[in-house]
């Protein structure tokens, strides 16, 4: 569910942001010409998420072009043979310009726009690097496919290595950084919310289909500042699609994807509103060792921010340290970033990074790791709403 918000926000703002950056930057920064556009016609009729659906795999790992928005999110914690720790993020976003497929003579004609983020965290060096790309979903430049499952934007890609799309290869490279990992789902697919239908507000249709592999074994290699390292670790995969807009009140969100050593995983999302309150549909999913799911509502969870960090680049102050309590399931955790500066330097600035988890689960001491995502803290986002 959190990714719905992230995705929507990014999609709406990404190009606003990119243009803003472009106007400000470049060696020959000059006033960019303004464009007066023709008035828009009726909004295109995209499919909406109204009721749970029967998923088919691997097809449903692929794109759903009748819905406006879709993304594939891979994040994870890795370490090399010497125990040095790394974090990675590789995300693909799809934005439809209109529903359905095109029937045009030009192979470059596009009804889908793709963009992607790639980030690596090097804990030992205390460095985080992030990259962003855009492309039309045409001409083989970017796209997604269900069978066999794959998503790619130029040479950043996800490719299924098995028929069902539970084993995938991730590849991305930019400058002195690259990633080449094989991920194998270690637990069954999680369908969040009501059998995969994740509500974002009480209004029907304001929802997404949200699927996850909450624990995937990862192995492969990274190139970090030109240095190649062999790594293994645990990854997390989110896939979500919808046709919904963000509520007017929402100003940002905090998302947690935590993998505990006792075999549990916890997904939590809290949507912050302008008045300081939280969206009532905030909540999450607790995945037991055996893969059984427990839906969590806002009432089940207590969030306590423990400390903040201020980015010198964006000026944003992020609550990076948290205490998360789910008393009904004996969960009391502190969440600590592996590195403070894991801010994403992309069109719309947000914080997404690897974290360490300590505390109790089912009343027993537990450790763990995960990723958290914090949006709406940079001023630019506030202004954009």
């Amino acid at each position: 569910m959190r990714k719905v918000l992230v995705g929507l926000g990014l999609l709406l703002l990404a190009f606003w942001g990119s243009n803003r950056l472009l106007r400000a930057g470049g060696p020959q920064a000059q006033e960019a010409p303004a464009i007066r556009l023709a008035p828009t016609g009726e909004a295109p009729a995209f499919a909406r998420v109204l009721e749970p659906r029967a998923f088919r795999f691997p097809q449903d790992h692929g794109p759903h072009p009748d819905f406006q928005t879709e993304w594939w999110y891979y994040i994870g914690n890795l370490q090399d043979a010497a125990g040095e720790r790394f974090g990675f993020q590789l995300t693909f976003f799809r934005r439809a310009l209109r529903p359905g497929s095109l029937n045009r003579p030009s192979g470059l004609a596009a009804s889908q726009i793709y963009f992607a983020h790639f980030a690596l965290t090097d804990v030992a060096r205390q460095e985080h690097s992030s990259f962003e790309r855009f492309s039309r979903g045409a001409g083989g430049l970017a796209g997604a496919r269900g069978d066999p499952f794959s998503v790619w934007l130029e040479d950043w890609s996800v490719e299924a290595l098995d028929a069902l799309g539970e084993r995938v290869r991730l590849r991305a490279q930019e400058g002195d950084f690259s990633l080449d990992l094989v991920l194998q789902a270690g637990k069954p697919l999680v369908a969040h919310g009501e059998a995969g239908l994740s509500r974002k507000s009480e209004e029907p249709g304001n929802a997404s289909y949200y699927l996850s592999f909450t624990r995937m074994d990862a192995a492969g290699s990274l190139l970090v500042e030109g240095e190649k390292v062999e790594v293994t670790g645990q990854a997390w995969f989110d896939h979500e699609w919808s046709t919904s807009a963000l509520g007017e009140q929402a100003v940002g969100w905090d998302w947690f994807g935590l993998q505990l050593d006792d075999g549990r995983e916890i997904m939590l999302a809290r949507i912050r509103r302008a008045d300081g309150s939280l969206e009532p549909v905030s909540g999450g999913t607790l995945v037991e060792q055996d893969g059984s799911l427990i839906a969590l509502s806002l009432d089940d969870v207590m969030f306590t921010p423990l400390g903040t960090w201020t980015s010198l680049r964006s000026g944003a102050t992020y609550p990076l340290r948290w205490r998360v309590e789910i008393p009904a399931y004996g969960v009391d955790l502190t969440v600590e970033p592996l590195l403070e500066d894991q801010e994403m330097e992309v069109s719309v600035v947000y914080w997404e990074g690897a974290v360490e988890v300590k505390g109790e689960s089912a009343g027993l001491p537990v450790g763990g790791q995960g990723y958290i995502e914090l949006t709406g803290y940079a001023e630019s986002i506030q202004g954009a709403f």
Binding site: R23, E31, R36, A38, R98, R104, S106, A109
Partner: protein
Amino acid sequence: MMSSLYRAAKGALASRLPGRGLILAGLRDLRRRPWQSGLMVLGVALGVAVVIAIDLANGAARRGFELSTEAVVGRASHQIQGGPSGVPQEFYRRLRVDLGVRTSAPIVEGIVYARDFGDQPLRVLGVDPFAERPFRDYLAGMPGVSPGFEAFYLQSNAVLIGSPLASRWGLQPGGSFRVQANGRLVDLQVLGVVEPAGERDALALEDLLIMDVAGAQELLGMQGRLSRIDLILQPQEASALTAALPPGLRLKAASEQAQTATQLTEAFLLNLAALSLLALVVGMFLIYNTMTFSVVQRRQVFGTLRVLGATADQVFWVVLLEAAGASALGALLGVGLGWLLGQGAVGLVTQTINDLYFVLSVRQVTVTASTLVKAMVLGVGAGVLAAAVPALEAARVPPVTLFQRSSLEARARAAVWRLALAGVTLGGLGAAALAAFQSSLAAAFAGLFAILVGFALLVPALIVLLMRALGEPLGRALGFEGRMAARTIVGALSRTGVAVAALMVALAVTVGVSVMIESFRGTVVNWLELTLPADLYVTAPTAGGTRPSLSLPYALKGQLEAVPGVASVESFRSVQVEGPMGPVQLSVADARRRRDARLYRFAQGSPEAVWAQVQQGAVIVSEPFAYRHGIPPSGGEVTLYTDRGEHTFPVVAVYYDYSSDRGAVLMSENVYHQYWDDRSITSLAVYVSPGESIDFVADKLRRSLAGTGLTVLANRALREQALRIFDRTFAITAALRLLAVLVAFIGVLSALMALQLERSRELATLQALGLTPAGLWRLTLVETGLMGAAAGLFSWPAGLIMAAVLVYVINLRSFGWTLNLQLQPWILMQALAVGVAAALAAALYPTARLARMPISRALREE
């Protein structure tokens, strides 16, 4: 010490520079002859105006071209190009995805014609907004994805246009207009109007239609192909990429691209500039003329000044300063006038560039500081240069207070033969320069100027000879006035010689340029007959005159051949390809029909043999091409980059062609298809079956072509269209010629008017002695008429020599084509008529003034 030094320096300076009084005397003298001074100023103004107008227009055209190139190239350092069919789209994917070259942008370009707006050509620039970022500033405002912008990607007819274009055509966002795009008519929709951020952007957007790359492919029928790929590369990246290119694709530096295109128009612009200088040269004669007059008239004053202690230097400078003052005023006026003329000239220049070279849209001329400086330097420089001889003459005036006019005239007559010798020498040097520097265009123009000036120096001698010959017959025909007129002209040679020479030069320029244009036109008419033999031609209507850059489907040929009454259809393809020597215009012709043998300038073997070789892979090249690239009459070859890689084609003939001054290579269609993937057609020629009505078949063809926007033209109409474009091409030359005539007219008016005013006392004496008013009129009109006629007559040989140089030397060196010199008698008659008319007009005011004035007063006149 210092002060004595200062005084010494001041004293030394004082002996060279004219004092205030002298300058005042000089300037007041200008004021006392408002007619002459005014005409002198006007002469300079017109001369400068013409140069400035052409300079502004050329500058605007160059700048417009640079900007539009810059606009299209943006910050790209390199481009990947292919043959006429472009770059496979798949290679772009490979480049970006497999080779990881991400500062790359796909471009689809082409020309469409705005049917709703006078078929104005517009450049289509198909881009990918996501790849554009590093390249083009004016596209930076594209919102990528935002509400309302989806249509940019989704609608194949959505375009962005610049606000200047939008306001010119009254288009709003959401509006639409129709264009001819290759063989189709398409309604384009204005998705957005781009507000340019600056003047640069405004010029860049002047004639640009910005589309999504996919929409542009569909509009131009280029599915699967790109026109080029723009890149920003470091040198080492470039060399690495060159190695990775498949055959048929080439990596070029963007600067190289812009250069070759500017070179196209350089000869044309240089010719215009040189012709505009001719107007200034005529203006210089005018200044020379006026200053000589005023010096001659003031000999008495200068003599007195010399007696009073004025040094020769001081007298020299005072005359020069007078000329400089008048010229500066003229130059200032000239800038203003030039700016006005420039507004018109820029239209003519860009029209010609559009007709002959490439689509260019320039509407503004900008007067920069450098324009002003240029005008002042040219105007004052020309004025001072022209006044140098009269100033020397003034400085040579001895410190004597009483002059015998007759001694001056005696000296003038004595100088006639020396001048003639100098003229012959100068003309000879000019001719030698023409012969010696075979390939230099500048030397050709310098030689031409030298010949012209040399001829002008011959004029006094010619006058003496002519008047000697005419004296008796005139006396018999007109009595006293006739004899008197002929004698006066020789008697006042110091004045008449200059005036007639100035008029002669001006008229010669018009004769030369007119004969050149007519020769060119006649040559083209003949050539069109030979080169357009088919009955009907199918092409896009191009009211703008731009050479159609169409890409019609090959299937059209079969479609038209199936029309009843059609005997055969020949396809023609005109494309630009590349070779080691740069861009090459390639004409691809249906191989079935042999070229007319008269089209060959040099051929290896019979026309049949030539054509047989062409069908087997040889090419023939046009005359300008052979000239430009030094292709010998036999044994030449042309290397081109084909889609199969580099290939060398033997050249078996050189043919006459006047369609492109860059020259063209003609290749048979079957050979072209063997080496290039492009299957498009530019135009079609239709032969009607014998016995069929051409009009009837044309009607059937039109029906078959319904909806394509293509027109069917009879060969006569196509020839007429070609000639219309030809005439438009020379419109600016004709305008220059007209201005030269105007300057000449003013010159002769001023010279002869001064002459007549000066003779007031003499004529009054004649009147006192019994000359009737009618006799006075007869005398002055015969006198000036004789001078005008003399100038007209002398302009014939000078003009014809100039025409010959223009036709056989300048045109060859500029454009490389052979023209047949053709003489139209009306041109000579016109020169004579202009000369006589100007001369007669010049006599009107002074004679009328004199006729009204009491003789007693006229007798006292200075």
